[in-house]
Symmetry: C3
Subunit: 344 residues, 3 copies
């Protein structure tokens, strides 16, 4: 077991916007313990959690304006990590008194952290206009921490055949037999497509159509993976033969960030273009999705991870099925990107 | 601390018969995580818990007939571990899609697992006819997991002098002074004998005699150890001077299987030839024995084990007493058997 | 991470007198698991917890007179660790059947353990006459175990500036600005002095003065550190301009003993020379101090320790403030003493 090498000079999801307030939270991201908070300016701020003085946990400190005061001896750090106040005695501030700060960017309800030594490149930020346009979309969101390696989450999403067994209420008996699976790479994007024409309509979309629901629909799911571990899902149904945009649709972000080599953070957002003002439905949808992640996907990935005993998947010679092709491709693309960065 | 070498080409207890149903259980045996279940045929089945596809935990899957279906992507394995169904897409089954299977044998209410590369030899199975003959014997049973090395359990049983201190309600003050301890090796069997002539009768056997109970009895306990860690206890009392078979007797199996180098499974069964139909007594006996293992022997062995910090007993130079001779002999016999196997 | 080297041929606090009774407790001191109890003679006794026979935990045994009987097979050890009884069979006692014993000394309500290969030197015992003179002083006491390296506790106490941030109810806003910090070494003693003239009186001392309390006082705190980790605190207030001994005062012992390289035992006693008979106040004082250690200092030191990941402070290049000078000096003195011992 050697330390993992992560892709650098890229954005990783650090938090959902709603998680960050004037009360800092501690989150370990790519192995580094980080205090995350929102300053009085409204900006989101990230400082290494370890005070450079006596290594106290900064996230237990108090926020003043955009500054964070250490809970142990009161050194105050600004959003860039510079010490701006020593409240003791004559108050001299040693030059070295700096907390490492991290560049954050907040878009579409997601707080991203730049990871790398090159300047942060905001043009690389993956956007989800659906989550920032309440006139046309309504969204719900959630978070879980998973005791498993972060790439296992992408594996899970790039092969939705698991729904029949792990989420039986989301799928119908034998639906895998009726699904056409395909995969293609579009540049650095890996796209998995699941197509089930003329399938009995599921509860979610019957609800979307309302009284007018057809008994059968064409069901299309598209999963788009982007390095390092950003996934977009588009799921929709149409009356048989219609074009995808004619039916009710849902747009999902699944964002995975390594916590350590063997654990990760999993953020999800789920927007829909139907029943926009039905708050009760939003509540139920959020709860049932969060429960599926907590009780089904999460435990499955943790059990997988335990059986892998810290080894990489490749080292364990998995027996592969055709439905593994998208996740294998994503792993290969990511490894190529990392190898290129390590070599340069 | 090097990895332990276990005796091979032998049977280890894997479960009590009553534990195995159509809902699989996960049990780690000799370091391997194993899914154990009973198929529709009534046969007991053991498959390595790690699905060869994506390493999902098979024991969380569903049983169909004698097959086990993986809970993640639905591959179905038969009792021999061969993949017999891939429910996704065209359903091709890769040749390598095999789960390791283990040979089990069920006898006398005990499920044994063969451990070794030679063909399973059923003639080696240790039999307990007492547990399979309800006309003449009634038995109770139980199980605990112990965070201690498996040989410490045999040590415990081969030196029953501990009862006076660890189980004071089972022994009378000073009973060790009145006991004649002896030990002999019979081939590969190690037999410890505890003989207390003309001893005040204990509660258990006073109950066995009923109104006719003598005040004093000859008390004989015989502990027979067999490699790797199968123990048979025969405990009985007689009116002073009578032959052992003339009094009420109890027959016990204590079966210990390594879980890991430092933890083990402890199965016990206890048959008696008196009060055969007294279910209330059976219940109380089961509960008090199970409690003794859980609250007294188990914690003692775990504390011992913690003090040994993963080292072998020999390395720690124990101070030995005459009453240690049986357990030392058993350790020596086992080591000789293992050494012979390793050399061959 | 190499094993820590502790100062030897010195006394470490092992327990508070009130902790030791005829029911032994297990406490790991400087890496060794030790059974501590009070014999029928009233003497406090310390034996290595691991029975030399089968490594059973002696602290679970029973005390007879000054002897301790092993809970597993009944070997009985006297206060010097010699086996004095084998209750089994003919009762022979092997010569090697000795438990390691430790030299204890009980003074001023504190049980000290000598650590080293030279004869115990009672003249080295740090005395607290305040805790043994109920006519003039009343004291309260407590104990916590801290999952942090023992020197972090001395660091905490030698820099009381943390009170403003960690114990805000003990300090007033900005009190660090009004404090004159100084430090000096007196032989092997390190003394930190905190002087706040004409400070608003705090609740504790307003209570001490009673109806006659002045609104402002001169507040002096003196912290005296002695190797390896014995601290004496003297805190008092006077009407502005008066001599220290004219006001109410409190005397504290803070005694820290390594449990392992990364955890420690923290014993404290707090004597006062006012409101001697106010038991209600004693109760509240004990509870609020114990809570401060449990909820504020303890967790802070544990978080620090977690951020240090087992590395020594020096290796992590802390940014130092003038208020760190006393704790740095104490660390240097201790290191010099240890280096001298290792070299000799």
């Amino acid at each position: 077991m050697t330390a993992p090498v992560y892709m650098t000079n890229t954005w990783y999801a650090a938090a959902l916007s709603d998680e960050l307030t004037a009360t800092p939270i501690l989150r370990t991201l790519l192995g580094e313990p980080i205090a995350l908070y929102r300053g009085a300016s409204g900006n989101v701020i990230a400082l290494h959690d370890r005070c450079p003085h006596r290594f106290a946990p900064l996230h237990k400190g108090q926020v003043f304006g955009d500054d964070l005061r250490c809970p142990y001896h009161g050194l105050r750090f600004n959003a860039l990590g510079a010490c701006v106040d020593n409240p003791i005695g004559e108050g001299k501030i040693p030059k070295a008194a700096c907390a490492k700060s991290y560049t954050l960017a907040e878009r579409d309800g997601i707080v991203w952290m730049w990871w790398g030594d090159q300047p942060a490149d905001e043009s690389q930020l993956r956007r989800w206009p659906e989550f920032a346009d309440p006139e046309r979309y309504t969204s719900v969101e959630g978070y879980i921490r998973v005791k498993g390696e972060y790439q296992l989450i992408a594996d899970n999403l790039l092969d939705l055949s698991h729904a029949e067994f792990l989420h039986p209420y989301l799928a119908t008996e034998g639906f895998n037999r009726r699904t056409q699976y395909s995969m293609e790479q579009q540049g650095e994007l890996v796209v998995a497509r699941n197509w089930r024409p003329n399938e009995p309509i599921s509860g979610l979309f019957a609800f979307a159509y309302g009284d007018d629901a057809p008994s059968h629909v064409d069901h299309l799911s598209i999963v788009k993976w982007q390095a390092p571990s950003t996934l977009r899902l588009e799921i929709g149904v149409t009356r048989p033969g219609q074009a995808p945009e004619e039916g009710p649709r849902s747009y999902q972000a699944h964002l995975v960030t390594p916590e350590t080599a063997h654990t990760c953070h999993y953020f999800w957002k789920w927007g829909r273009d139907f029943k926009l003002d039905d708050h009760d439905f939003s509540k139920k949808l959020q709860a049932s999705l969060q429960l599926a992640f907590e009780n089904e996907d999460g435990p499955m990935i943790e059990a997988q991870s335990e059986h892998m005993q810290g080894q990489r998947q490749e080292a364990l010679n998995p027996v592969l099925l055709p439905t593994d092709s998208a996740s294998l491709r994503a792993r290969r693309v990511l490894q190529q990107l990392i190898d290129k960065q390590v070599a340069s």
